[in-house]
Symmetry: C2
């Protein structure tokens, strides 16, 4: 079979104007970026204000494994399948970070015959939105270090005298705004900045700092959660960058940098319209990871798509304990509407890998047995799928299990899995279908589309796990206990102090965003299947007052990935015709 970029290059694509017209967008709603992508103006929502909204289908998955479950393939395939069934449909997905593209994972455009095209545009700069997030984020960091330097150099009174500005009296030990970079760059995790030649101070005030990947920036979350430009500007102003020497928060508005940050994100707030290989309109917007951020594409893109379609298909990152949970508890509460249906992607190999019966280690070759029929392992791994179905059911939505079929999968094992789902009783309506979206595109996902159409006929009774009015610790407990099945949470002394401080500053009404491993439903990546009887440790809390949540670090979660020994970038190049090669 051809590789992804070859398939993508050989597939004829429609001019984006045609894709837009078919989607119900008018030329004045668009800013075309070349012939195959276009920015969509948020003002389109004024024109569509009286349109009814379609169904919001949220794709999630079993606990991820190194094998890849094909969630984006299924998302794109399902959208194509719905189009084959003559439904008006759009997909809404995130923009891939260049970190994974150059690192281990490769691209995130789907694959095979279910891709967003052109995949090399999607996987690299696209329309520059992530760059804009990086630039706006780092402007605030530079502004903060510059202010620290000038106030220190002139003294607080001298600074005010020279500038007529209030001295912010930044506590150098309490700067909470790191810098970001859209790369996997482990050497930037912990850095010292503001270093000087001995005896000089021209480079500012030396202090310990670090870089996160841009996907972890609060600005990325803000971009994904903002209702419009004015909302984004207000949120940016509320970001807490540091504390002063009296312990009071210093915001981006205090530093007078919020306006310039918003200006930097003026174009990024517009979702980008692309198409799948079968011409299904797709909105790309924002790119928060689901382990270290809230892991969903934007509210704005969903709002636009819902007004234009019968079905909007979107996905949350990682398993249903991660992106799906955050879609329901963070995004849905800010958007004022939850999903109408959850699609849980599962694979035979992924369930077997979740069985705990194989010795899987990062960087090690996978055992052959995982690709061959193994009833025991499948039965054991089913517990994980069952957990994720039940998890989606907690939120009151019907569930469709999408079994993403791989070539080696046998009919009998697929039937076995379907039967296991059918023979289990769940507290919500559950459908199951096999998808061959990778190899067959929309035709391979038509059965899945039928299942989703049936499931959506069962009205969802959407309910999040908590309401924003509850105290922060109750919200943390709700996610840990109801969401993950933990027996409780354990806040470190640091987290306890932070919790008290955030409450004192009036932030008790924020949502909670859990940063934990995606490789287990618990915080411990070695606990496979459907773990229980564990206590969720909360190591540290971070305030994201602009995004509207408190971010809880559970266990060791890396906010800046590293490059492996043989990174994906080694395969990338330009051929003699100027085409990009080696991207998958």
């Amino acid at each position: 079979m051809k590789n992804d970029i070859e398939i993508c290059r050989e597939t004829p694509l429609s001019p984006i104007d045609d894709v837009a017209r078919r989607a119900g967008l008018h030329p004045e709603d668009l800013t075309p970026q070349g012939t195959l992508k276009a920015k969509v103006k948020p003002s389109v929502l004024n024109r569509l204000a009286n349109q009814p909204e379609g169904k919001l289908v949220l794709v999630t998955a079993i606990t991820p494994t190194p094998l890849g479950e094909g969630k984006t393939v299924t998302t794109i395939g399902l959208a194509q399948g719905l189009a084959k069934r003559h439904k008006k449909v759009m997909a809404c997905i995130r923009q891939p970070s260049m970190g994974p593209v150059f690192g281990v994972k490769g691209g995130a455009a789907g694959g095979g015959y279910s891709q967003v095209a052109p995949m090399e545009k999607l996987n690299l700069h696209l329309t520059g939105d992530i760059h804009a997030v990086t630039a706006a984020h780092n402007l605030a960091a530079a502004a903060l270090d510059a202010r620290l330097y000038h106030e220190s150099r002139h003294g607080y009174d001298g600074f005010t005298e020279k500038t007529s500005l209030r001295a912010l009296r930044i506590d150098v030990q309490r700067i909470v705004w790191k810098r970001v970079m859209d790369h996997n760059d482990r050497a930037l995790r912990m850095v010292t900045v503001g270093k000087n030649e001995p005896g000089k101070t021209i480079n500012g005030i030396e202090r310990e700092d670090g870089f996160d990947i841009s996907a972890a920036s609060e600005l990325m979350a803000i971009l994904a959660l903002s209702r419009d430009l004015a909302d984004m500007r207000q949120r940016i102003g509320r970001i807490v960058l540091a504390y002063d020497i009296d312990g009071q928060p210093i915001t981006a508005d205090d530093l007078q940098v919020a306006g310039a940050m918003a200006v930097t994100l003026c174009e990024a707030i517009e979702p980008t319209l692309m198409q799948t290989l079968e011409g299904v309109p797709t909105l790309i917007h924002a790119g928060p990871f689901a382990n270290i951020a809230h892991g969903n594409s934007s509210i704005l893109a969903d709002r636009i798509a819902l007004k234009l379609t019968e079905f909007t298909v979107t996905e949350g990152g990682f398993g249903s304990d991660m992106g799906f949970e955050k879609a329901c508890n963070i995004k849905a509460q800010q958007a004022g509407r939850g999903p109408d249906c959850a699609v849980v992607v599962a694979t035979l190999r992924g369930l077997k890998a979740n069985s705990g019966l194989y010795d899987l280690r990062p960087g090690q070759a996978l055992p052959d047995a995982i690709f061959a029929p193994d009833e025991n392992a499948l039965t054991a791994g089913f517990a994980n799928l069952q957990w994720h179905i039940n998890n989606a059911a907690k939120y009151g939505v019907p569930v469709v299990v999408a079994i993403n079929r791989f070539p080696q999968d046998t009919d009998s094992e697929l039937e076995q899995l379907k039967a296991m789902v059918a023979n289990t009783s769940f507290s919500t309506h559950v459908e199951v279908a096999v998808s061959e979206a990778f190899g067959k595109g929309g035709d391979g996902a038509a059965e899945l589309a039928d299942a989703v159409i049936r499931a959506c006929a069962h009205p969802a009774q959407f309910r999040p796990l908590y309401h924003l009015g509850q105290p922060l610790e109750e919200k943390l407990m709700a996610v840990a206990e109801v969401g993950y099945g933990a027996s409780g949470i354990e806040l470190s002394p640091l987290a306890q102090n932070q919790l008290a401080a955030f409450k004192a500053q009036g932030h008790d009404n924020l949502a909670v965003c859990m940063a934990k491993t995606p490789l287990s439903i618990s915080h411990d990546p070695s606990l496979k299947g459907a773990p229980s009887h564990f206590v969720l440790p909360v190591r540290e809390l971070k305030l994201c007052a602009g995004a509207g949540f408190v971010y809880a670090l559970c266990g060791n979660v890396m906010t800046m990935p590293g490059l492996p020994e043989k990174p994906a970038y080694m395969a990338l190049d330009i051929d003699e015709n100027g085409h990009i090669i080696g991207l998958s």
Copy 2:
């Protein structure tokens, strides 16, 4: 008078398709980016191969002062003036860095009625090219630190065993590739990266490092100097990132990252077409500063414009000792053609500021006297203009002095200056004209356009100051002695060792790129006017094997600017209509 962004917003602009058609570009040559900008495919040069080339007019200036001489205003105004005279004309300018936009200088789109529009697009992300340079540059840095880490962790043999890759054996003390950021961020000048919690090594190998501004990246120079995508790919492969423990260079090709870097720059290699406020087509491409880099827009943009026009107007950064010198000695030698005419921009106030008769200090208010008639100061300052005219004459090109008129300027002083130019004898054809391009647009620059048309009727005898075959030290001496009027150069012991090493590695045939202050023709910013009898100190040399030059640091040249006490970003915001305000 209205401010720049107000004038720009109120001026009706043509759809970029119309601008392109008037410029002789076909729809298939373009990738439109919205309705007001378009990427131009380098393949247009194949179609235009048999077209004759027009005249290349290079705008430079007297020694810059804090007042601003209006070089970009004059460049854009001149292009508009030539259009008023019914000449086929395009302007080619650099993309502004966001560092100065948010820092001291503000935008770089020209001003008044001689601007490139929309100015807020030009001054911010435009089409993301600078972001792409930043991303490609930092990918190499991340790749280098990751390789250092993995080779150290596994041992050289263990690394090869695990990966089948040759161990590069990077000398941690001799990594010469810093990281970059497109911001003025002084705290990043000197940093420690790869720091770890005590007893751990998961964040890599601790070492001293630093960030430059993206405009100083060798990749930015490569983007500006490449003839096409294939040439760019080859140049990137030659970049020396570090040395191994035996002192041998490690290139981007050795690290297998050059392909991915080129892929990252695939769109950036296409110039961006915009227009002036009077609809003159303008190509924007690359953004190297002229003090810490070679300071000119791209060879590719010039090549395209020259094929499409009678006159291509471009500018070199700072005074004629800086961007103009580098345009003639670096860019012209790589492009295979020099300018046909030099325009030297001067202002009454700028010449007086160069007289040495006023006490001007950065950050201090300017003395009122500088804005009032002062024959003595003007006469003293004329020495600086005379120097720059003579400097351009050394390269064998006719010269036009463009006096950029400000509202306070008196007719009598302007006449005095014109007479001084007319009454001085020069070794090349010299014209002089007053420009009122800021307040009157192309009509205000029509006289200047006439002067340029007359000057271009005198065929240039272009000659650079050195040829690439000369030894590196001769090339350094040629620029210092012939170019600046220094009595000699003095290489530090470090620079001497570096020179010997570069020669031994076969780099004697590269050009030289001087990094020095723009505020004096010498290396010493306090030496005003036309200094002589100074020895140019060369502190350090840097190899840019991909760009094709050795970069000489003369005196203290900051490769990462800092933000001032009251930075320009404080004025930027979004108004209630979603418009950007406060940009100038």
